[in-house]
């Protein structure tokens, strides 16, 4: 290209850069969140990419929350009603984009943030929220690691990761007769699953189980035969998988292929999802799972009623039975509504203080945060697939059915 062309192109680049930014600072209006009767909340969701499925469920949860709250006229902030206005952006399932979106929301004056799905994205967002002085309600980032960094502006409504496998272990200890002796953990190698495994091992050892060597495999693996072959020889009584849906299905399928038959299987995340029972058919029977919420969770609140009411509303609005990803998302949005009401303001610092002191019942269970921002006050539920459906078997107060033990035919 001749020098003239080069000059032309470079001048165009430079001036378009300048023009792109020109006036933008003036155009963006810092909307005081409740000033116009609106409570603006920013939500970065994984609408595309690896986490698209869960991202959509999270969005549904936020949407239902907005509908229900606005149906009552909105949140009562200092005497005036403010309607929820949740703005969605796609973070393509990548943590760096999720963090970038938090910054972009900050530019627009949106200080209240609803988290993206998953611990990796939430961790990235929490760092930015802390720096910018925003406040975040975490709906799906359970890894305890996020809350061990001294962040004060992120609050997780869901039970921490260490509870996922621990609750299954506790349920087995309480309800299984004859009580099994050995447990083997099969875990994916992502941060969240590893934390889950650590928590499960700690609880199991504390309750007197013998924990065999844990087997790890790459996150997202569809072939876990090596891990299964290695535990087969040790004959564990219980196999617990710290996994997500893909590995969870693979474990059950391949365990059958390889004739690995413990007394029961327990898995995190996968069993409560409808795809699990659908993919496995009869093989899914009696598999245990842990869930942040089921439709028999105790508790109610003024916007959503009981868990059963919530289930009905999700079914009516979206045409499918709710999964716990819906519920935890709605709970996060609900906690913002309640906190803003309590604080009488939409100012980020006041909402933050209100959140840290929140203690309320809801359709999701108890919402209260400890000093690090985690909700350790709500137990997880343990479900079991019986006749193709996930039924709650633990804790006893909300159990729908008795736990079937042993889960597999010996």
């Amino acid at each position: 290209m001749g020098s003239r062309g080069l000059v032309l192109a470079s001048v165009i680049t430079a001036s378009s850069l300048a023009m792109a930014g020109c006036g933008s600072k003036g155009e963006e209006q810092i909307e005081g969140a409740a000033s116009s009767g609106r409570l603006a909340i920013g939500a970065s969701l994984s609408l595309t990419g690896q986490l698209a499925r869960e991202g959509l469920l999270t969005k549904e949860g936020y949407q239902l929350c907005q509908d229900k709250v606005n149906a009552k006229g909105g949140v009562d902030i200092g005497g005036k009603k403010a309607r929820l206005d949740i703005q969605y952006q796609d973070d393509t399932s990548k943590p760096d984009v999720a963090a970038q979106l938090v910054d972009q929301f900050n530019d627009q004056g949106v200080k209240l943030i609803l988290s993206s799905y998953g611990s990796a994205n939430t961790e990235a967002q929490a760092a930015v929220v802390e720096r910018n002085g925003q406040v975040m309600a975490d709906s799906a980032g359970a890894d305890n690691k996020i809350f061990s960094k001294g962040y004060e502006r992120t609050f997780a409504v869901l039970s921490p990761a260490t509870e996922y496998a621990s609750s299954i272990v506790k349920a087995i200890a309480e309800l299984a007769t004859p009580k099994p002796r050995t447990i083997a953990f099969l875990s994916a190698d992502d941060g969240f699953s590893k934390t889950v495994t650590q928590g499960g091992i700690k609880t199991a050892e504390g309750l007197g189980f013998t924990v065999l060597d844990s087997q790890f495999f790459p996150s997202g693996a569809t072939d876990v035969s090596s891990a299964l072959t290695r535990v087969k020889g040790k004959n564990p009584d219980v196999i617990i998988g710290s996994v997500h849906l893909v590995e969870g299905v693979a474990i059950i399928k391949q365990a059958r292929e390889l004739e690995v038959t413990p007394a029961a299987f327990g898995e995190t995340v996968a069993p409560p999802t409808p795809d699990f029972a659908k993919s496995l058919g009869a093989q899914a029977e009696n598999v245990l799972g842990s869930s942040q919420w089921t439709h028999v969770t105790a508790g109610q609140d003024k916007y959503f009623g009981t868990a059963k009411d919530y289930a009905r509303d999700i079914q009516a609005k979206f045409g499918h039975a709710p999964e716990y990803h819906n519920a935890e998302a709605t709970a996060a949005c609900l906690s913002f509504a309640l906190a803003a009401e309590k604080a009488g303001s939409s100012d980020a610092d006041k909402v933050r203080d209100a959140l840290s002191g929140l203690d309320t019942e809801s359709f999701f269970g108890r919402i209260k945060f400890d000093a690090t921002g985690q909700n350790i006050f709500k137990p997880m539920s343990v479900i079991q697939i019986q006749n193709g459906k996930a039924v709650t078997v633990w804790p006893k107060e909300s159990a729908e059915a008795k736990m079937i033990w042993p889960g597999t035919k010996q």
Partner: protein
């Protein structure tokens, strides 16, 4: 008498001055562009600065890839390995060895360059497809290695660079700081690209691209030139990776060694015009800006639309924008349809 001797002298000197000015012009324009970008910063919100910083990051990455892929013609499909090595080295250096970020930054570039030399020596013997896949294998393999050394790298759970508290060796740069740093890296990469293009080194690389055997026959040490280009490319990419890691604070192997980053680099260079200095710059700015714009305004369909745009752009301009303009100006043939006819089967 004076008239007859003065005129030719004026003509010669004048031409010389014009030539010099023409040669300096690109550099002056470059300086202008950098100043323009710095001026732009005052107009942007913090979040927007972060978005534009991402554009600068891809400019640097694309320019670096262009050195080995565009000039030399050795398309490296594993370029992200340098990005990841740079990022992880910095993360480890700050977290475990308590070095300052600036020292880690420089060292990361050096380490990436050394790694490039190490794998370049055996792999640059391969040609075309095989080189591409071998480097891809190295990148993917490196990701797996990093995932499997949790004590050093945190494994699949990621590693966090301390930015607050007593362990933090360098204050976090913030969105403004990273804007300037990425801009500096972009400017550096364009500068390096420009210098290489106009130097003997660049000629050697182009010769290797066009006919490696002939280049060797005229006395070019092809191995040394190739490895040098690879190392230089790795150095810049490593610097970018280090900066990115610091910006993200918490990094994961799947992100730092993501093959999609390499694919994006390649696309930017090829759409812009591979083997040119301006091409990667244009390609990076356009593509990154476009994907950001689409993502913000078409939340549900943005990837779909981006894919469609890429398909159309590739069909209409297979040789890249800059090369298309060059050829068109030379031949006078601007028709896009004719362009398509030239490259189709």
């Amino acid at each position: 008498m004076t008239t007859s001797t003065q005129v030719p002298q004026q003509g010669v000197t004048g031409a010389m001055h014009r030539d010099q000015a023409m040669r300096l012009l690109p550099w002056m324009v470059g300086v202008l562009a950098v100043l323009g970008a710095l001026a732009l910063q005052s107009q942007l919100f913090l979040g927007q600065q972060r978005t534009v910083a991402a554009i600068f990051m891809f400019v640097a990455l694309a320019q670096a890839w262009n050195l080995i892929g565009g000039f030399t013609g050795y398309a490296c499909f594993g370029q992200v390995v340098f990005f990841g090595i740079g990022g992880y080295f910095t993360a480890i250096a700050i977290s475990h060895w308590h070095l300052s970020f600036w020292v880690s930054l420089l060292l990361s570039g050096v380490v990436a360059a050394l790694f490039a030399t190490l794998i370049g020596l055996p792999l640059l013997r391969l040609k075309g497809h095989y080189f591409a896949i071998a480097t891809l294998g190295v990148a993917e393999g490196m990701r797996e290695v990093v995932t499997n050394l949790p004590d050093l790298t945190g494994g699949g759970a990621g590693i966090t660079i301390p930015t607050v508290g007593p362990d933090a060796t360098t204050a976090y740069l913030g969105n403004e700081g990273f804007y300037v740093l990425f801009l500096a890296l972009a400017a550096l990469s364009v500068l390096v690209g420009g210098l290489v293009a106009r130097s003997k080194f660049g000629y050697a690389l182009r010769a290797i691209h066009q006919d490696e055997d002939a280049a060797a026959a005229v006395g070019i040490n092809t191995t040394r030139m190739k490895v040098l280009a690879f190392a230089l490319s790795g150095f810049i990419t490593g610097l970018v990776g280090a900066t990115y890691a610091f910006q993200q604070v918490t990094i994961f192997p799947q992100r730092l060694f993501d093959v999609n980053i390499t694919v994006l680099m390649v696309i930017m260079v090829v759409i812009g015009g591979s083997g040119t200095v301006l091409g990667p710059l244009l390609g990076a700015v356009t593509l990154q800006f476009l994907s950001e714009f689409l993502r913000q305004n078409f939340t549900d369909l943005h990837i779909f639309i981006l894919g469609a745009i890429i398909i159309v752009a590739v069909i209409l301009l297979p040789q890249g924008a800059v090369n298309y303009v060059r050829e068109a100006r030379r031949t006078g043939e601007f028709s896009l349809l004719a362009n398509v006819r030239k490259y189709r089967l």
